[in-house]
Symmetry: C2
Subunit: 340 residues, 2 copies
């Protein structure tokens, strides 16, 4: 084990209460906890960036799901990147940059086989976004689940978000005939068309989604990438052409609902149009990782891909970052810089 | 052209008005029309059996769809079997049994290449059902769209209908671990388990579908074959297991609604469970026809497949048969015997 002066305690965010509807700061507790020295085969990591993601809201509920819920009174989890500060594991040295799943804490002690060493020639936080789960979700969802083909028209909701902004850009780079995005502010809408290369974008707060989508894509769409659910999904079902596909990736519009949302009333259109609606979790698509890194990494190197991020500075503001994400306060990937 | 004494007129059913909600007898008109002698390349067929099908209700509305609407004041269409009574086409002789698409009339004059000669060793009406579109819909929907695999659990709504009763039996014959069906009367429910080999069946009028389905399939289902839409689809989304599939084939529960139906409020479950919902029309699956006829014909020959039919006797009762179908008055395939 490589030795250096290590802190005896670090801060971590615990789940203090299960939210009813929208989470509030009181649902979380900032706790000072002992830092565990790494046992054989383990490493101790000082986290530099933490990811906050919409799926975390679902894990705060105590419901049976295919991702286990966060435990009450225990530390939250999530994607994180940082550097090894102590190692009792072969192949990991102090200073190595790693990606792992023990976020929401300053220091993480974990089995080395649960960490992935990453190349720090790129900004570390890109492994939480464009080259990480976010990017792979967009890539696999559009291409593998959505079966996107060059020349097709694509609509993305939550298009200014981390996943949505990647979906639209990948679609353009792969030869879409039309890319339409929706977002929740005029500023985001401007960013979509002026910086990210979307053909058309609209603010869903400015009028019914179905009407705005019909104007944006009067001939219809072939693929809908759904980050939102609700009214957006219904509008997309109406706009999808024969054999269109809807990729169900998120439903952030309804994560905090305490009553069941309204389902798409026009779902029977799927029969005549032979639509396919399919849910996805990125974990099913890790086999695509090499192709994804090669293609997206190439676009990054060529400067053809804009990666937006919103960085909240300071570990103590992690909850603020998460709550902001749920309200749509971010543009692109929402991150916390631990030392901000 | 082979000559024989031909009638100068025949009866046909016209669409007299577009129904608002449930069709009524006044929406149809029985008309006496001249019988057209076949031109070169044509045949004249005396129809023996007519098919009435749920999809016809959709075609009565004047809405843009991928199947054109019936024209007001013109004769209705639909599957029919009959015998050639005059032929001006090579390869078709008087007395030949044929399957074609000009139903809702006693006599049909049509291009011979629009007719399919059928083997009359089997009852002619089986080409409108078990060996026709009905059977192929069930076969292609379960196997090709639904991706059913031996050992999986299947739920079928409208299970006593023409398509539903085939789906359940094909699933059992192909090795399903569990086949559950729903129907709208206790008598139909009994028929499903006692005659058609369903493992469990329930009457959806006897209580919430979700509760009855949870009792029937406490461990969940892998494939849902939807003939009904509405509450059934929502219940099935709740019961589908990881990577489950819903085949959207019909939505008879809502064909006569004048207000939009309620969509499945739990559709966001499709994300975590990675469900696939896919609409189908049988016309996309004609390539499966040879495999279908071989396998289903084999089961028929071995007496392993029960084919239920409800035959309404008499051409003048065609509308009665169709309206009865929409109310669920049939068990299995609903047919009209022209000469009844």
């Amino acid at each position: 084990m490589t030795e250096q002066t290590l802190p005896s305690t670090g801060r971590e965010w615990h789940l203090a209460a299960r939210p009813q509807g929208w989470p509030v700061p009181e649902d979380f507790a900032l706790v000072e906890a002992p830092v565990q020295a790494p046992a054989a085969g383990q490493i101790l990591v000082r986290n530099e960036y933490l990811s906050v993601d919409p799926y975390m809201r679902g894990r705060m509920n105590d419901v049976k799901s295919y991702v286990p819920p966060f435990r009450l009174g225990a530390v939250m989890d999530g994607g994180a990147v940082g550097r090894v500060v102590a190692s009792a594991a072969k192949g990991f040295a102090v200073g190595d940059a790693v990606l792992h799943g023990l976020g929401w804490r300053e220091y993480a002690t974990l089995d080395a086989d649960k960490a992935i060493r990453v190349d720090d020639a790129l900004p570390l936080q890109s492994y939480l976004g464009v080259l990480g789960m976010t990017g792979l979700t967009a890539y696999a969802g559009l291409l593998e689940v959505g079966g996107f083909q060059p020349g097709e028209a694509v609509f993305v909701s939550g298009a200014a978000g981390a996943v949505g902004s990647m979906v639209g850009q990948i679609a353009k780079l792969r030869g879409a005939s039309l890319v339409v995005g929706s977002a929740g502010s005029d500023e985001k809408v401007r960013m979509l068309t002026e910086e990210l290369g979307f053909d058309v974008a609209f603010n869903y707060r400015n009028g019914p989604v179905a009407e705005q989508l019909a104007k944006a894509a009067p001939e219809g769409i072939d693929v809908y990438f759904d980050n939102v659910g609700g009214e957006h999904l219904e509008a997309a079902i109406g706009a999808l052409r024969l054999k269109g596909r809807a990729v169900l990736c998120g439903a952030i519009a309804q994560y905090n609902d305490t009553t069941p949302p309204v389902g798409p009333r026009n779902l029977a259109l799927a029969i005549g149009k032979r639509l396919r609606l399919e849910g996805m979790l990125v974990g099913d698509h890790y086999a695509l990782q090499p192709a994804f890194v090669a293609e997206v990494g190439g676009w990054m190197a060529e400067g053809r891909l804009v990666f937006e991020e919103t960085v909240v500075e300071g570990f103590d503001r992690t909850v603020e970052a998460f709550l902001g994400l749920l309200r749509g306060a971010n543009t692109g990937k929402m991150l916390v810089r631990v030392d901000g």
